[in-house]
Amino acid sequence: MSVVEVLFVLLGIVAVGSALLVVTTNQLVHAALWLVVCLGSVAGCYLLLSAEFVAWVQVLIYVGAVVVLLLFGLMLTRAPIGASTDLDAGLGQRAVAALTAGGLAGIVITALVDAFSGERIDLGGDVSTGSSASAGSALFRGWVLPFEVLSLLLLAALVGAIVLSRRDVGVEPEAADGGPT
């Protein structure tokens, strides 16, 4: 195994381990922090796969924005310090979920091994594929349309989030005539 592979395995273990903690920890905020670890190590994986640009975008948007938003949400919904008992469904459902997830993993991995065992990623040679320049040019050479549509998506999400947070939207319950029963 080369250095890159060793590093990748380590990062992968960290990613999977922290992901497991995300879904099993019974402390709300810790879940978000483990998510940071997981996302960070996935970003490391991108780096090792020579997708540098994607890696930094991952850090910038996921860690810098998404997780912060999540934490923000957790705190606004009064995440308690320490363990909560009501984060997970009952034992039965957990067992079912574990079986489902395990089965899913089994199926996916079997299919992947069947399809791709023996294939190798060639990381040598032209390493510029993941650079910002190549990503940028690919974006504007092949993917202008989804890029533009995405900008509408972002705007819509922004307006949506703002309008949902405005105080003057919608009739207050006491003002509503009759209201739903």
């Binding site: 948007i61 294939e119 190798r120």
Partner: protein, 114 residues
């Protein structure tokens, strides 16, 4: 590097995320589990992209899009979660039952027809 290495990590992440979605009762935790699943997708895409040496860089561009979509989703999603919390003082999903099915009425619509 063997292509399977990132793919396996991705498969595990995806399954773990799926487990979280099924098990978690808190809306924000479910959202986090979904983020894990999306990361699995991204890892897959990047790995395939590098492996295929895609001239269009479709995989990486797709990854960028997915990340952006995720950010937009989380932004709007949290606005909704907060809205629910403000109206309901909880973000536990199984406590949100105001819209559940009404108790069944054997006569049901039949009585309305009379």
């Amino acid at each position: 590097m063997p292509l399977l290495m990132p793919l396996l990590v991705a498969a595990l992440l995806f399954s773990i995320g799926a487990y979280g979605v099924l098990v978690r009762r808190n809306a924000i935790l479910v959202l986090m589990s979904v983020e894990l699943m999306l990361n699995a997708v991204n890892l897959n895409l990047v790995a395939f992209d590098v492996w295929l040496r895609d001239a269009l860089l479709s995989g990486q561009v797709f990854t960028l899009f997915v990340i952006t979509i995720a950010a937009a989703e989380v932004g709007l999603g949290l606005a909704i979660v907060l809205l629910v919390f403000r109206n309901r003082e909880t973000s536990q999903l199984d406590l949100l039952t105001e819209l559940r099915e009404e108790p069944s009425d054997p006569a049901g619509v039949g009585t309305a027809a009379r």
